[in-house]
């Protein structure tokens, strides 16, 4: 009885011919892709590594993603609400954490957007933009782009921000942007001096970062020079007595 009623495996699939089946599959992926950007906001979406799955699926996923990012950028440019601007910028900065978004972010000129926001008065916008830059500047193409667009200067000026996260993103970004060619700029004397001050900070996160900057990215003579300079000019916070 039971054996008679149970259809053999695979019978179900015969109902849909293979070509249609494939189309159906595509439809499912496309649907998933279309709604997927809504899931993880404001934090980045889970990304599918580019190499897995069928090409159809990847295409569908990525079409959805580009459109979604485009919508974010458009909203950012169109809206008058500061709140919405902050939210969207935070969204974009979180998307910048994930390497699989880099291509789209470049396409949509989000790097320029981030760089422009560094000189805003609104501290939140600066924090989010700096976070976004910190997230994407390890990538070679992005790095070159930022260096070409003379992005190091505004990043260095972020070191004097009163916002803890902005400062830390700036320190990390400077480390990540240091190349043999950009070294002179990223480890300029004022920067090293600033790092010396940070390395004495009571804030462990900041002092750790600054120590790494001094140890790994600056030469001992550079540090020494900065140390002498800060002794003479006594700018910034007073050094603890030793």
């Amino acid at each position: 009885m039971a054996a008679a009623s149970a259809p053999p495996e695979g019978r179900r699939h015969r109902l849909v011919p293979p070509t249609k089946w494939r189309l159906l599959e595509f439809y499912c992926y496309a649907k998933a892709a279309a709604c997927s950007p809504l899931l993880g906001t404001p934090v980045p979406e889970p990304t599918l590594p580019g190499r897995t799955g069928s090409p159809v699926r990847c295409l569908a996923m990525e079409l959805g993603r580009l459109e979604y990012l485009q919508a974010l950028v458009t909203e950012f440019q169109v809206t008058d609400s500061t709140e919405a601007k902050e939210q969207v910028l935070a969204n974009l900065a979180n998307f910048a954490y994930d390497p699989s978004n880099y291509e789209y972010l470049r396409q949509l000129q989000v790097l320029d957007l981030f760089l422009d926001m560094l000189t805003e008065d609104n501290e939140n916008l600066v924090e989010f933009a700096m976070g976004g830059l910190c997230n994407l500047c390890l990538d070679k193409t992005n790095k070159e782009y930022i260096l070409e667009a003379s992005g190091v200067e505004p990043i260095i000026s972020c070191l004097s921000s009163s916002n803890e996260e902005t400062v830390m993103s700036a320190v990390t970004a400077l480390m990540f942007l240091t190349t043999p060619r950009s070294r002179a700029q990223t480890t300029a004397l004022p920067v090293v001096e600033c790092m010396l001050r940070f390395s004495l900070s009571a804030n462990t996160r900041l002092s750790n970062l600054a120590s790494i900057f001094l140890q790994d990215y600056c030469s001992p003579p550079q540090v020494e020079e900065a140390r002498n300079l800060s002794k003479h000019t006594a700018v910034g916070i007073p050094l603890p007595k030793d």
Binding site: Q87, P99, N135, L138, T141, I212
Partner: protein, 354 residues
Amino acid sequence: MAAGSSGGPGAPCRHHAQLGACESRAKYREGWRPRAVKVYTINLESRYLLIQGVPALGVMKELVEQFALYGAIEEYHPLDEYPAEQFTEVYLIKFKKLQCARVAKKKMDERSFFGSLLHVCYAPEFETVQETREKLQDRRKYIAKATNQRDGFVLKKVEGPKKTASKNSEHDCPWSTSESQVATNWDPSYFTSSPGVSQNTAYPSGNQSLLPSPHYDNNCAEFSGYFGQNTSLTPSVPPGGHTLPPSLMQQRMVPSYNGIDRFMPRTTHLQERKRKREEGNKFSFIGTSEDNTEVVIGPQLPEIPKVDMDDESLNTSATLIRNKLKEVADSVSTSVEKPESSSVKPLVKQRRRI
């Protein structure tokens, strides 16, 4: 001065504070869960997790067990000096891998635990300079790998086994068993959508009914497909990595179980050896042994009947998938067996096929 003075370890930091969820988000930017407007960078992440709101009921063991589900824990202790609400405690847990800390934070934040809502946040201020340095280096390596992969450029770098392991740490969390983990596992970003939907995107819907395979198999297949060119799956899985679940307790038990440094009289030694040998045999019965030196007797079982799909191309793809699954399942089971089989290696015994 850029930052406040309250940044030292053990003191409450600004980034520990839970920001209010954003209420004014445009519809298309709304997620399933209400979230604050916050940007995560590598600076904010850490292997250290600070857990607030743990009820003061002496439930440290349960707490640690719960967190150990997401990966090996290196260290944990209560933070007595950290300001806590009445009748609650604050704990610090240090994971071995950042990826595990990410998943644990995602899963455990705002979870109810013994009647109280946990607040889990990263605590990077507990890192040493060296730990911070390693974290940044891992991120650097990960980006290099991810971006090269996308350009179709295969980076073939010869590295020591230890380094490779740490490289894998970014993505590899071999302890994952739950199906939601499947999504997070091969996901380079730590923000994942709800398990149900990622399931949809992760599996071709048509195949789901055909392949009654354990979830982690599928996951491993994806994983090895993605990182296949420079990391083979089997060596990256630490021995015993698939013990489920590898709570801290179990890990601790392993050394005492082997009983190497305990004093034992000779007779006990002999008995122990005999017991081990028997155990080894038991294991080789269960596992699929690839070892060719093994002598197998007894009638061979018929193979699992193949499903005929009545279509050439469907059959071909079904076979491909089946083979892949088998391959993955084999590599998993052999790596699980490793510790035992290495100890029984010298004796090759014939065994009966069941």
